[in-house]
Symmetry: C2
Subunit: 297 residues, 2 copies
């Protein structure tokens, strides 16, 4: 279980954080700050070098302010975007962010599909894909003949009755069914309303086959380890900033990182009483997180 | 947890069962008997009057042998069909069985949709229906304006991405989401292959909304109570015959009935090591169950 550090309210006076060697941006920075309601205090001796992983989904990119990532970049801190986005390849994801003006490279994005490909190769698995059309190229190099596992992503319109039955039949027909899920999110918001996320369909298949899926996106340990490997730092020198109490905060903490929850996006007041996960600190939004981190450098 | 009675192998010599006042048929009677592998022994003093509930689904009706139900009827025993069928109204279900030559009336069928209507009226609930087209008339008399709950059945082709998102949005928008599920089956077999059953979609919505559905079909206690009410007997005078270890056997036992599992249809050898449910006895098929019961009258 995570710890809660409560301390002085964040303010222009600074929080006594040690110098940082690198830092971050976030998916949920557009909501205005509610002054005076942020308590932030982190143990000084751990803060020698902070590398920040930031949760971002392309559909939220309107909320990812370029000014934040630019400030992080200007400070010399490193930034790694951690996304459970599985509606597009990492390349297309980065292309869209760059078109919006972000100075982001493909290696700065950790996403579930490349992690899944790594796992498939490692274990000689040949997937049947139930994923979004736009994600399929991510698996171009993977042998998909005579499938011996199912890879499930946020397939969106591909979540048809026929496709779900097909994935189910393949699984139930295996001696030891292997279901690999690119995340376990419950739902997300798009412009036309809330949508069931991959986790809901994962639960359906898990129940029908009486199995447990292997989750390769957030909050899996392997996912965060891969983000850290890209940054080249141990977990105690990185900090995760995200709005999802389980997938961002809980996942990063289980990997040995510390994690801030932003009180925007998916954040719900009830998160502060979550039975299993406690963030190391809360910030009202990404702007505030960046302010505090840069201020302490 | 159920008990296991193991005793003499079933055979022409009879099992010493007391006279029965009523008996049954089954959904899974077509598989040939495997001689010598049936162990059957029930405590004599309970067997004064046996009324049989039998699991049946219309899609399995080819396996429901008319000869069995005819023999039950000829013996003077009562029969109640217990179905989790939610792809058709009870009337249409009975019509189809009658067309196949079965002498069955509507009151002899216990099904989830009428049970759900009873519950909706009792609690003043106005459902949004995510059910099979052919089941909709069952809810004709129910107020469905401004829904304050979701009723989920085996919607089959109606399990579209759009319909699932719609049901989810309604639930997540409720202060206290109420999801009523017409069963919790994992999957079933149709001529064109295995299909995900209502239980899988129930799990998806449960997970997305972080709620527990109320199940009104098998294995809920209320469902079996309603079958017993139709027979007019207490649970200890009725016996359930079914192929589903959880929905048929477990559900009936939780209601105080005894239950036989037929080793046909959904039966899997691993059922005999089920961690929670133990049938009172096994029979190789419905024919054998009827043989044994009639032999003991």
């Amino acid at each position: 279980e995570g710890k809660v550090w409560k301390g002085r309210a964040a303010g222009p006076g600074g929080l006594g954080l040690p110098p940082l060697a690198a830092a971050a941006g976030d998916a949920a920075g557009a909501a205005p700050s509610a002054p005076g309601c942020c308590f932030f205090h982190l143990v000084r001796r751990f803060w020698n070098q902070i590398f920040t992983c930031v949760s971002v989904r392309l559909r939220d990119s309107a909320r990812l302010r370029r000014s934040h990532t630019d400030r992080i970049k200007a400070s010399g801190l490193k930034l790694q975007l951690c996304t459970n986005e599985t509606q597009a390849t990492r390349e297309s994801f980065v292309r869209k962010l760059r078109a919006l003006g972000f100075d982001i490279s493909v290696s700065q994005v950790t996403a579930p599909a490349p992690a899944a490909c790594h796992l498939l190769r490692e274990r000689g698995l040949r997937p049947h894909l139930l994923v979004h059309h736009d994600l399929v190229p991510e698996f171009a190099e993977i042998d998909k003949t005579n499938p011996n596992c199912v890879v499930l992503g946020d397939a969106a319109e591909n979540f048809t009755y026929a496709n779900l039955n097909e994935a189910f039949r393949l699984l139930i027909g295996m001696e030891k069914p292997v279901l690999i899920s690119l995340g376990k999110g419950r739902y997300y918001k798009e412009t036309d309303g809330l949508k069931l996320d991959v986790g809901a369909y994962m639960k359906a298949l898990e129940y029908a086959c009486d199995i447990q899926a292997e989750v390769v996106g957030k909050p899996s340990k392997r996912f965060f380890e891969s983000a850290l490997a890209e940054l080249g730092v141990p977990p105690e020198q990185a900090i995760m900033i995200g709005d999802d109490i389980v997938n961002d905060v809980g996942g990063a903490q289980q990997c040995g990182m510390r994690a801030l929850q932003v009180r925007t996006g998916k954040f719900r007041p009830s998160d502060e009483n979550h039975p299993e996960v406690k963030p190391d600190a809360y910030v009202n939004n990404l702007a505030e997180a960046v302010d505090i981190i840069l201020q302490e450098m």
